[in-house]
């Protein structure tokens, strides 16, 4: 599983301030830190409080690329901002995200085809997040069929089954795991899967252990990527261990270290 480092996000105060003051330093520090900690992608999100999302996204992409060479994951519901970001990305990037709603899929998949970008697709439609695995998988199938119709390789599509905080949506847990497993049967090659890891622990007091355990369980169901805290060393070690147990990486005594430094 690949970590999409979550830290360059305007929801965090230091990043919001950096965007306001056009100070690249905090952004670049987090870019380097996450890369060294083992992130495979860097999530880029301008946050809720920005007035001009288009120029903020463009600036974030540019300054991040000066500090790190790993690919970016442009995270916004404002597709103009994403498109502006894609235009300045040096390497193919990932779009985060699109729900299974026709006009949005049209916009995002067209953009993805143009920029050779990967896409995170959300297993939700007009009616929001479904309750059970079956409905989630049906929406995933919509994403797969559309992705294919726009000529995008299916393995460039990451489907997010959408996890809810376990303190309020406990019943969703098993449905998420089941969805992850079934998504792998939708096509050959199958789409990849991604998840916003820390959603699961929102509002709880034991956030770290919940995140780590959830990561391990998801990997066992075939999860390929997660937006997560790359600087949580225990989380990275958990992921490295789960990968070895799933026979995804070749074991050696220092496997956790090898996983962490694989991009350096």
């Amino acid at each position: 599983m690949i970590i999409i480092g979550e830290r360059i996000n305007g929801m965090f105060r230091d990043i919001a301030k950096a965007i306001r003051e056009k100070d690249p330093k905090p952004v670049q520090e987090w870019a380097r830190k996450q890369e060294e900690a083992g992130a495979g992608y860097l999530d880029i999100n301008v946050g809720p409080a920005v007035s001009d999302r288009v120029s903020a996204m463009k600036w974030l992409v540019e300054v991040t690329q000066e500090a790190s060479k790993i690919p970016l994951c442009l995270d916004s519901t404002d597709y103009d901002a994403i498109e502006a970001g894609l235009e300045v990305c040096k390497e193919p990037a990932m779009i985060n995200s699109v729900p299974a709603i026709p006009d949005k899929m049209d916009r995002v998949f067209t953009m993805a085809a143009k920029f050779n970008a990967e896409v995170i697709g959300l297993a939700m439609g007009e009616e929001g997040i479904p309750k059970d695995a079956e409905s989630r998988v049906a929406l995933a199938m919509e994403l797969v069929a559309n992705c294919d119709a726009y000529g995008i390789p299916i393995d460039s599509l990451y489907i997010d089954p959408l996890a809810l905080p376990c303190n309020v949506g406990q019943a969703h847990g098993p449905e998420v795991f089941e969805t992850l497993r079934q998504i792998k049967l939708l096509s050959d090659p199958p789409p990849k899967t991604a998840i916003g890891l820390s959603n699961i622990s929102q509002g709880t007091k034991e956030r770290e252990i919940i995140n780590r355990t959830f990561a391990a369980m998801c990997i066992a169901c075939g999860l390929d990527a997660a937006v997560a805290d790359a600087c949580d060393e225990e989380l990275v070690a958990t992921i490295a261990t789960a990968r070895v147990l799933m026979n995804l990486d070749i074991f050696c005594d220092s496997y956790a270290e090898v996983y962490r430094t694989r991009n350096l």
Binding site: I250, F251, D253, S254, V258, R262
Partner: protein
């Protein structure tokens, strides 16, 4: 239907290791040899660049190879008293890309040759040939730990390929390599996990060594478990292409001892009439062992029989022809 050619998308590639050093680089070799660097599975030129052809080295000893079968010794009888002349014959007459010197006589149960004498022998070989060299001790760790330092010093700056670092005993060889700018053979006992870990241990001693390690996965001969090595090599190669940098070192197959201790290689025809003529069978056994390893992804072979070397080099010529669509 028209066929769309399938190319795998790989993230990684095999590391490229340079062996030997020219005058400009602090050595005396006429040229260096690069191994590894490929971005594709063995000889699949259509899916990625394969910048360097596999290399064939020939083994020489620092003593008369009594245990070799007569039919093999025949090729070297005029030179096996003199390692320099032996090395030269391998390069000039038999087309060896490199020479591997085994300090067999250092074995305490044989001549127990001293470190100084080994160093002197190395110098002679360095003078006799201009190709990059591979160096092996006698195979007994206690003794080898005492000779590899002085041998490394005698070849300082030549970027020798020093054998062998093992999990339980890697420091002396790795230190000899660090001190005098040599490369290292990291040998693991038909075990991919140890192969990977050993690279990490060596790199912990000195990060720059990462690009000077060649993996020896330990070779079993044809008919005697070669499929285990073949699969380990395939896994390591595929792993490297998928981005596993700690298994991405080029690989070496020292097939000499394994092949030549097998009946199929050394038995005369009158003892096994059903196996055919020995003069053909012996080199064929060695060459087919090498052929299989090449298909598994080996980058560097050490061999003994001149006819087998010829067969393998011809095979490599054929396989290095571009097969892009």
């Amino acid at each position: 239907m028209a066929v769309d050619i399938l190319k795998e998308k790989y993230r990684g590639q095999v590391r490229e290791v340079v062996l030997g050093a020219t005058k400009d680089e602090g050595g005396t070799r006429s040229h260096t040899i690069k191994v590894g660097g490929e971005k594709a599975l063995p000889f699949l030129h259509f899916e990625g660049e394969i910048p360097n052809r596999p290399v064939v080295a020939m083994e020489i000893w620092d003593m008369v190879p009594d245990e070799w079968p007569e039919s093999l010794k025949e090729y070297f009888k005029d030179v096996y008293n003199d390692p320099g002349a032996w090395a030269k014959k391998c390069v000039d007459e038999y087309g060896a890309d490199m020479v591997a010197v085994r300090f067999k006589s250092a074995d305490p149960d044989l001549n127990d040759t001293s470190a100084d004498e080994c160093a002197a022998t190395l110098k002679k070989v360095l003078e006799a040939v201009s190709v990059p060299l591979i160096v092996y001790g006698c195979g007994k760790a206690e003794k080898d730990n005492t000779i590899m330092g002085p041998i490394g010093e005698a070849g300082a700056g030549e970027n020798l390929l020093l054998g062998v670092a093992e999990q339980e005993n890697y420091k002396s060889v790795a230190s000899a390599a660090m001190a005098n700018k040599h490369s290292v053979i990291a040998q693991s006992p038909i075990d991919i996990n140890i192969a990977k870990q050993l690279n990490i241990l060596i790199a912990e001693m000195s990060t720059p060594l990462l690009d000077r390690i060649v993996i020896d996965p330990t070779i079993a001969a044809l008919g005697y478990g070669i499929e285990y090595c073949y699969s380990i090599m395939e896994r390591a190669r595929f792993g490297a292409l998928q981005g596993d940098k700690m298994l991405a070192m080029p690989m070496i197959g020292n097939i000499c001892h394994e092949v030549w201790s097998k009946k199929e290689a050394y038995l005369p025809a009158d003892e096994e009439p059903g196996w055919g003529d020995q003069a053909e069978r012996s080199p064929a056994w060695e060459a087919v062992t090498a052929m299989a390893l090449l298909q598994g992804g080996i980058n560097l072979l050490i061999m003994r029989h001149p006819e087998a070397v010829k067969m393998v080099k011809n095979n490599i010529d054929d396989l290095m022809k571009d097969n892009s669509y």
